[in-house]
Subunit: 135 residues, 4 copies
């Protein structure tokens, strides 16, 4: 279990009231929980922009598996990036469509190159990657 | 296999040249592939904002499994949202940390309520959801 | 001057160290300043999503003033939205191009309808609106 | 006036139908106008990530002008970045608050450094910069 550090913050009173009402309706149980989430997002964003440090990320893709050699090309690409891919989960949505999530651990530069690789495969759509850090 | 429709587009010449050079370095093999991806993103964004139509989405979460009842609460929450959760994939990152992706199919309103539920669980960090559509 | 409120936060030690190092390199002088900014962004995002409360926002547009009736249509549109437009600043970039920022105060619903209005004007490009709140 | 180039695109029929219905409700008059906007966003994003090419951008800030030396520090900072700042527009919102937009032309690296400078000034909130390109 993580050791906790405690510190004080000062904010304009009206800003704090507004924050309290927003985080309550967003489901947070207290300020520390909400701030921890905002801070993790901030750090992940900063790690992502730097490009060289390691992030945990996911890339969500959808495609029509009847299309040409889509499935094979996707598999080949994932093998090329084997060093950053942890695993992928595949859902057979209907007769035609696939929905797949690839879980990655690597630098944002490598993740971006992987996404560029997907861009070269016909009939595949991928979302922007999301990423997080484990601090 | 999807039937294809063909149509003409007119763009300022300089914009088209710039576009061609960018998509080539991003890995796209031709303009139609690049435009298909931009259009899918645009539609997914619009569906997401509307709130009532169905999207395919993923929520990426990380947490420390030693923390209190985190894992049980997460499982309970996922059961409450069973109607929109297809499956989830779990990675045991190291002695302490978990990295998990939940695959969902549902309205963006439901997905947002699921994310709010996660916000109420101590020691869990979740990214913003990503989403796509199957057209 | 705003009255300040002070409160305590507890965070995992390693997360706090990471946060401190990031905000220092981002120019922040202390944690309260950085958290105030993160919190304002969070509130503005939440106000924006709700749609009915008032935000301060800007929409950045670029266009070719030689194009048809672009300038006139833009002016007419801005008059239609006079109740939410504070002012606009115009830069004559070069012989052909204009760069303009519109400052707005209104609900995000109104701001979105204004942006839709811009979308209907030929040869005008507009960015997504940015917005902030005054707490 | 810009010379126009014309080219053909092929898309899955169902995707095109969906796109047509979305862009109509977003105010676009035809596909070319909508695609031009999507393509400009895509190029601006790519220029921004590269860091070295020139973008047109805006940074929106709000602050309490009673706070310490906020206004002077902001002015001093803007003079330091005089080579990328075209102008700024200032709104006296109420007795306490200022709402200001800075129009910039420069590399995204310089714009980021300017935003970092703002981060160091107490009681000032700035949004993420938005940016566009003039192609």
């Amino acid at each position: 279990m993580e050791r906790l550090a405690r510190f004080g913050v000062s904010l304009p009173e009206s800003l704090l009231e507004e924050f309290d009402s927003r985080i309550e309706s967003a489901g947070y149980k207290n300020r520390s929980d909400a701030l921890r989430n905002l801070i993790r997002d901030y750090i992940a964003e900063s790690v992502w922009e730097k490009g060289t440090e390691s992030v945990y990320g996911t890339v969500t893709i959808t495609y029509d598996h009847h299309s040409h050699d889509t499935a094979q090309e996707l598999t080949a690409l994932q093998h090329d990036f084997g060093h950053i891919i942890i695993c992928s989960t595949h859902v057979h949505v209907d007769h035609d469509h696939c929905f797949e999530v690839v879980l990655l651990r690597g630098s944002s530069e490598d993740v971006k190159r992987f996404v560029e690789g997907i861009s070269g495969i016909k009939y595949v759509h991928s979302t922007k990657p999301v990423f997080t850090v484990l601090v």
